[in-house]
């Protein structure tokens, strides 16, 4: 898993060659359309359900609303809690991404370019982190955060998230750094640059692709994460959206139309960003697999 492979390029269709014959095409489009329907129907009915009344939801779960209930969505959009939760998620994810990038890039640089005693051992130490999920140590982690006085703070979520992301991020950064042309080092050192200088003015500017990859992995991970905030946060005003959604459901347990509207609004940013930046996101989220 240390070889670098080209990132997955999902946005490029194959070109040239023979075009498919009609029976093949019929088979492909039929199967793909059925599969696409299975994917999309739950999503679309969720979004539409947010426009219905509870009664209509019951009688007509699939169709368009007969009477569009804009106030379901409006109420949420004008509520403070939706924006607060989105803000919390954004803040936590932002901090996580920033610290993950900074710490793992620096450590990976040391592993890739500086020969020091025990570097192989130390790298393997970090790679242990790849092997188990945060859940395994969740109770001691909770006690540690509590004893550090970080319970119910953003840092109590951010720091463990960064720590558990370090293994993969260091690995990705290190592989990338090692594949930069070594002539660059020679040239820079001849020019009199030291390691730190070199890191700052040569390595980092050349590392935009891998920064994007690691950034996306850690952002998506943090944006979607549930178990750490669930355990570390107590006050609702600090909840990120996955927690918020659960609370909301608890409050409006049978008002499905409101819950559906709330779900739709919380996943909407993800869907929009995904389609806007699909190339980078797919390459990023599968990078851990192909590298």
């Amino acid at each position: 898993m240390t070889e670098t492979t080209a990132p997955i390029d999902a946005a490029t269709a194959s070109s040239g060659g023979r075009s498919e014959r009609l029976p093949t095409k019929i088979y492909l489009y039929t199967s793909l359309t059925i599969l696409a329907a299975i994917i999309i129907i739950p999503l679309v009915t969720t979004a539409l359900g947010g426009f219905k009344t509870l009664g209509e939801l019951r009688g007509n779960p699939f169709g368009l609303p007969s009477d569009w209930q804009w106030e379901n969505y409006g109420g949420i959009l004008f509520s403070q809690r939706y924006w607060l939760q989105m803000g919390n998620s954004l803040l936590i994810a932002g901090l996580t991404v920033f610290l993950t990038l900074a710490f793992s890039a620096m450590a990976a640089f040391a592993f890739a370019h500086v020969k020091f005693f025990g570097s192989g051992f130390l790298l393997n130490y970090f790679l242990i982190g790849l092997m188990f999920p945060a859940a395994t140590a969740i109770l001691p982690l909770f006690i540690r955060i509590r004893d550090l006085g970080l319970l119910d703070t953003y840092w109590g979520v951010v720091l463990p998230q960064v720590a558990f992301g370090l293994g993969m991020s260091i690995l990705l950064f290190r592989n990338f750094f090692r594949n930069l042309p070594s002539e660059l080092f020679d040239a820079a050192f001849v020019d009199g640059a030291g390691y730190i200088r070199f890191f700052w003015s040569i390595t980092l500017p050349l590392s935009r692709p891998i920064i994007a990859t690691v950034g996306i992995i850690s952002f998506v991970g943090s944006w979607n994460s549930y178990i750490l905030p669930l355990i570390m946060l107590n006050s609702e005003s600090k909840y990120p959206w996955p927690l918020g959604i659960m609370v909301y459901r608890g409050e409006f347990s049978t008002d499905w139309q409101l819950i559906l509207a709330f779900i739709t609004l919380t996943i909407l940013p993800t869907v929009i960003v995904f389609f806007a930046a699909q190339k980078h996101i797919i390459a990023g989220l599968t990078a851990g697999a192909v590298k």
């Binding site: 130490y125 390691y195 996955p242 819950i259």
Partner: protein
């Protein structure tokens, strides 16, 4: 690792493997500032929040402790005995095993089949790929919540279908016998896109002319797939299985909104079990022991799988 000095390194060798052979030497003095500045932040964070908690989990697992003060009540391996005698835990183990089974037997073949379809030269292939990958990008919590609606026996889509057929709708998620199969369906829905993407990448990396050679050799579509494509995708398949196994062991976020592990523990996974029996009840010792068991399972599975199946990749 042996120290190779750049002066004595043979030219030919360093030309062939420039990155590795030459980088082992330190051509610059003053490596310590970079080490002292660059390593400690990561090292500290990792040690404090990953390694120490794991070690502490092993330690706490021998105590009966509610998390306050210091753990003093040593009970030996009692926690582990309790775990393995716990019916819900055994159910969780079985469920995790089932998830792995379904991933390998249903999800991965499905993903492979779809990957072969969306790499055909047809209009809209890229759009289909994106669509199939979309569930993977959504948060587990949101996906679980959406499917809770889908499965809802009163307002959901399943209810709609049953009502349309004139039958009374079932509450699948509340049915001990059915709930976990419903959850498995959601798992496949949510994760097959990731595996599909891996296979798309694998298929794209196959030299197109090899497949054309097979065309010319007279292979039919199925023969081409079975005798040329599939053998060349071997490493991707093994990788895909690896991720399915590791992923299934971590499953938690999606179960919570769907069933929370119920009804009567029918849909527990290892992590939901840890949460409901360790965290919720503040049984630090017991919960830590579950964490240790989970850790051992993860490490053993990951190591042995890599040893056995991925040694050549």
């Amino acid at each position: 690792m042996s120290q190779t000095s750049s002066i004595s390194a043979p030219r030919a060798l360093s030309a062939r493997t420039p990155a590795i052979a030459r980088r082992k030497s330190n051509r610059v003095r003053g490596t310590w500032p970079v080490l002292v500045l660059f390593l400690p932040p990561a090292l500290l964070l990792f040690t404090v929040f990953v390694i120490l908690p794991m070690g502490e989990a092993a330690w706490y697992s021998f105590y009966n402790w509610n998390g306050y003060g210091l753990p003093t009540q040593w009970i030996g391996t009692k926690n582990y005995e309790l775990i393995f005698n716990n019916g819900a835990f055994r159910q969780a183990l079985i469920n995790n095993g089932l998830i792995i089974l379904v991933s390998i037997v249903i999800q991965i073949p499905l993903a492979l089949w779809i990957a072969t379809m969306v790499t055909h030269r047809i209009k809209g292939a890229v759009m289909f790929r994106l669509l199939f990958f979309l569930p993977y990008v959504l948060a587990d919590v949101a996906a679980g919540m959406i499917w809770r609606f889908v499965y809802d026996g009163q307002f959901g889509l399943v209810a709609g279908i049953f009502n349309a057929m004139g039958m009374s709708a079932p509450f699948w998620l509340a049915d001990r016998q059915v709930a976990f199969y419903a959850v498995l369906g959601v798992i496949v829905w949510k994760y097959f896109g990731f595996h599909m993407m891996l296979f798309v990448a694998g298929l794209q990396s196959i030299d197109k002319s090899v497949l054309e050679a097979a065309d010319i050799d007279g292979a039919t579509g199925w023969q081409k797939f079975y005798r040329v494509t599939l053998p060349m995708l071997g490493s991707t398949v093994r990788l895909s299985v690896f991720f399915a196994v590791i992923g299934s062991l971590q499953l938690f976020d999606m179960i919570m909104p769907l069933t929370g592990g119920g009804p009567s523990n029918a849909t527990q996974t290892l992590v939901t079990f840890l949460y409901s029996f360790g965290v919720m009840r503040m049984q630090v010792g017991f919960g830590s022991a579950v964490g240790v068991v989970l850790f051992v399972i993860c490490v053993v599975l990951a190591f042995s799988y890599k040893r056995i199946f991925m040694k050549n990749d």
